[in-house]
Symmetry: C2
Amino acid sequence: MEGSVDIVNEERTYETMAESTKEQLITAAAHLLDGGGQAAVTLRAVAELVNVSHNAPYRHFRDRSALLAAVAERDFRYLRRKFDEQLDRYERAEFALQQSIALFVDYGLSHNARYRLLFSDPDLQPEEGLKQAALSSFQSFHLIVSKCQHEGVLPSADSVGLTGLIYAALHGAIDLDIGGRASDAKGLSSVDATVSLLFSLLGKVRA
Amino acid sequence: MEGSVDIVNEERTYETMAESTKEQLITAAAHLLDGGGQAAVTLRAVAELVNVSHNAPYRHFRDRSALLAAVAERDFRYLRRKFDEQLDRYERAEFALQQSIALFVDYGLSHNARYRLLFSDPDLQPEEGLKQAALSSFQSFHLIVSKCQHEGVLPSADSVGLTGLIYAALHGAIDLDIGGRASDAKGLSSVDATVSLLFSLLGKVRA
DNA sequence: ACCTGAACACCGTTCAAGT
DNA sequence: ACCTGAACACCGTTCAAGT
């Protein structure tokens, strides 16, 4: 009842409903990740949220790992879009970088399990679509860093290498915070403090 | 037969054998982590390696998570000892830092699952002993960084903050590499390249 | 083309006994 | 004090059917 589709028009009905189920499964998995981490994402729980039998997901995904990969791919596209938006919104790349980092950190800290799925999970075997989406979001971020270098806001090192360093520091700070490893050492709102220090130091690098 | 203990002398026999079994369980778990990752560390597999029944581990650890915590604690002590050794070995802290980082990166890249257990695993609920060991290794690393600042090799920012930044960048680079997320963006031996760039830039920071 | 129900192997954990 | 064997609930995955 609740999950029924009212809008039925052409002969693509079956296909449309199928895609809808597939999308619903991805959404359900994402919610379970947010609510209870990887362990909460059982195919049975996902299926129940979508009101299908516990092995219906196999009609849409090869296995549990493929479902998680679909969640990751969707989020990579989200991040890429956000990065692009910041670059469109601001004249100076420096501001786009600030906003992009704030959005990235916020995403990581408010969706711990999903963040880790994208950037840390070793069991996630990347298929072509996922690899593309991941690379795409990195390139979008790289473009922002690169423009900052041209503006003289960031040092003029190799731009891919510098992007990699910023990316690593960001990821490390977020991941340590998520894992509760930051509080072991400091009492700060650790991610922001680390990011601030990084850019403060990068701003003082001699040419 | 194989697992029997020949050296039996005083009345501490039982206790000694018990501790030995406990240590064996920790060692077995560490080997399984190295061999097949978290998924390979089933209590049944651990028990089989030590030639005890599949629920014997419960005589020594509250649950699976507590066994993993024991592995983590052992490795934190190992790292702490290594850091201390480097500081003893070299006159200049700069060299101790180089060696410590090399050892740390090497540990991470050659024991992926164990590295993640210590620095990333969100399910690892830290008891007092583990927390102490983790903090201890961080403090040892912090001391090295702090001495490097006094030598003028590193910028004179707040030393805990700077240690946190270096720690985050190191962790991020290692973790991304372990997860295969580095190759998505670059073709380099990414960790070394990132670490080199970080210290190259830190060395050029204006006072 | 999509879904269901039964079944299988595997796992963490518990419990009643055994020495 | 430590260990064992049986049992339980839960999970991913497969398979034979159903519409």
